[in-house]
Amino acid sequence: MRLIPYPPGVIMGGEVIFKGRDLLAISEAEIRKIRGDEIAMVFQEPTTSLNPLFSIKTQLSESLILHRDMDKEGAAEESVKLLKQVGIPDAERRVNNYPHQFSGGMQQRIMIAMALTCNPDLLIADEPTTSVDVTVQAQLLDIIDRLRTEYGTAVIIITHNLGVIARYVDRVNVMYAGRLVESGETGALFAQPMHPYTMGLLSSVPRLDLPRKHELFVIGGQPPNLARIPPGCAFHPRCQFAIDRCRQEIPELEEITDGRHSACFRSRELPELVGK
């Protein structure tokens, strides 16, 4: 999205290919056209993303008028339709309300409606349910999932909640200290994680369906300080399988088996190591 302020943030290199174009190589004017139009984003805190001074209708209409050439009346009608799509009851009346008149879950629905104003090809949801209750979380993610199937929108969900991943996503990328450490299709990744970090993460969360007395696996140590990332594999100080090579060399993300990638020198022997 190129939303990291510069300075201090600098994209040092690489490519971001979206529909065949490198988003890092195009002009600011071109990226502005893509932002909110072809790629939309839903943020963690709806309260800080909605403008308290304008009604929901005004805020939804702004993008409709800007990106979809609608007139004021058309945009108002479309706003009501969008609110209905994200399950806001009494949308005709509620569209005239201001953000503070909605609950947190309802505000997040409005954020989703706003992201949908331009039928984006890609929706990035950044911790979209972190600040809401679990029943509301289920409602919101069900809405995103329904829109994905109805409109064929691609969705990136950024989350720390492993349950959300298990329930809603097709493919997972696991990140640690700024790098991808593992990726794969959801079912396969959960059934047999190939990176010690993923493995530790999966066995460190309590599960509703397992007998209660089972002991949680504990990943020791602290998450790394990004200003002082350990040399070699960033996870090695917390890894029970670390060998000398891990302390010196950074493992590349490589294909271990069909469609399964992991950045660990010991991925191939991991099933055997865990068995011991």
Binding site: G105, T135, Q139, R167, Q222
Partner: protein, 326 residues
């Protein structure tokens, strides 16, 4: 509620209303019914979990037990003593037995005090140590929560989130309490750190024979750590039972919906589960619905649910539930 002298805490018909005032005369116009008549007990050495969504009254309940609020009505007994009848001095002595740890460890630690003085303060307030003993005690407490004694000279900002929660715990343990209210102690922590703190809490409970009231919105965490779990909805207890029973045999429609909303971190299991969807939001605790508080969102509500409050009763095996359908 069954009187049993093995109960450390007994809560009977607890009601906690907060007045809503308006105008310059601060005239009372309504009540926020944070807790609206709940009863339960916590046995010695047990962990009782309290779950529910924001605003259900779980935190208020914990604070009432510590008498951080003057309750509207009801009775709270701690170790056989009716704590609402205690005067200030007696209550201060009683508090040595009951401690609290918070969700946000950073906000609950004075940034200008060293770790050592944060942990040592309760020792001095309650006059539990003198002279040389003090340093030893602080070192001992730090070791107890798996921190190093040399860290006692550091300030809170020098600790990570997980370490701060350990500090909060060490401070609570300083006065050797019998009972700790843990209010969302792991909610603000990274997944990998959550497991560290949960494991620590379980170990300390075993070693020091503690009793916990564990308040959290994360059902998986609450079930894991608690022996029994109470599910609250809009100021009332919907269901209370053994932790395993709660998942295997939930009886209240709200509990069922709540459990089904929690995704299980295993797609092979989660994608086979039957989903119960709840529509709408939790109503305001000022304008609570009549009858059963859950009836406007309940898929099996009947006429009686609209005007009569279902009794919270034991349906056998210490499985308590408040629902006309049971």
């Amino acid at each position: 509620m069954g009187m049993d002298n093995n109960n450390l805490v007994e809560v009977e018909n607890l009601v906690m209303y907060f007045p809503v005032t308006a105008g310059i005369m601060r005239r009372k116009v309504a009540d926020v019914k944070a807790v609206d008549g709940i009863s339960f007990y916590i046995k010695n050495g047990e962990t009782l979990g309290l779950v529910g969504e924001s605003g259900c009254g779980k935190t208020t309940t914990g604070r009432c037990i510590l008498r951080l609020y003057e309750i509207t009505s009801g009775k709270i007994t701690f170790d056989g003593v009716d704590i609402s009848k205690l005067n200030k001095e007696q209550m201060r002595n009683m508090r040595r037995n009951m401690q609290l740890i918070f969700q946000d460890p950073f906000a609950s630690l004075d940034p200008r005090q060293t770790a050592g003085s944060i942990i040592g303060e309760p020792l001095q307030v309650h006059k539990l140590v003198k002279g040389q003993e003090y340093k030893e005690q602080v070192a001992e407490l730090l070791k107890m929560v798996e921190l190093e004694p040399r860290m006692s000279v550091r300030y809170p900002h020098e600790f990570s989130g997980g370490q701060r929660q350990r500090l909060g715990l060490a401070r609570a343990l300083a006065v050797r309490p019998k009972f700790i209210v843990c209010d969302e102690p792991v909610s603000a922590l990274d997944v990998s750190i959550q497991a560290q703190i949960i494991t620590l809490l379980l170990r300390l409970k075993q070693e020091l024979n503690l009793t916990y009231l564990f308040i959290a919105h994360d059902l998986s965490v609450v079930r894991h750590i608690s022996d029994r779990v109470g599910v609250m909805y809009l100021g009332r207890m919907a269901e209370l039972t053994r932790s395993d029973e709660l998942y295997d045999n939930p009886l209240h429609p709200y509990t069922q919906a709540l459990l089904s909303a929690v995704p299980i971190p295993d797609p092979a299991v989660d994608r086979q589960r039957k989903r119960i969807l709840l529509s709408g939001d939790v109503p305001s605790p000022i304008f609570t619905p009549g009858g059963c508080h859950f009836h406007p969102r309940c898929s099996v509500a009947m006429d009686v649910c609209k005007d009569q409050v279902p009794e919270f009763k034991d349906v056998g095996n210490e499985h308590w539930v408040a629902c006309w359908r049971v």
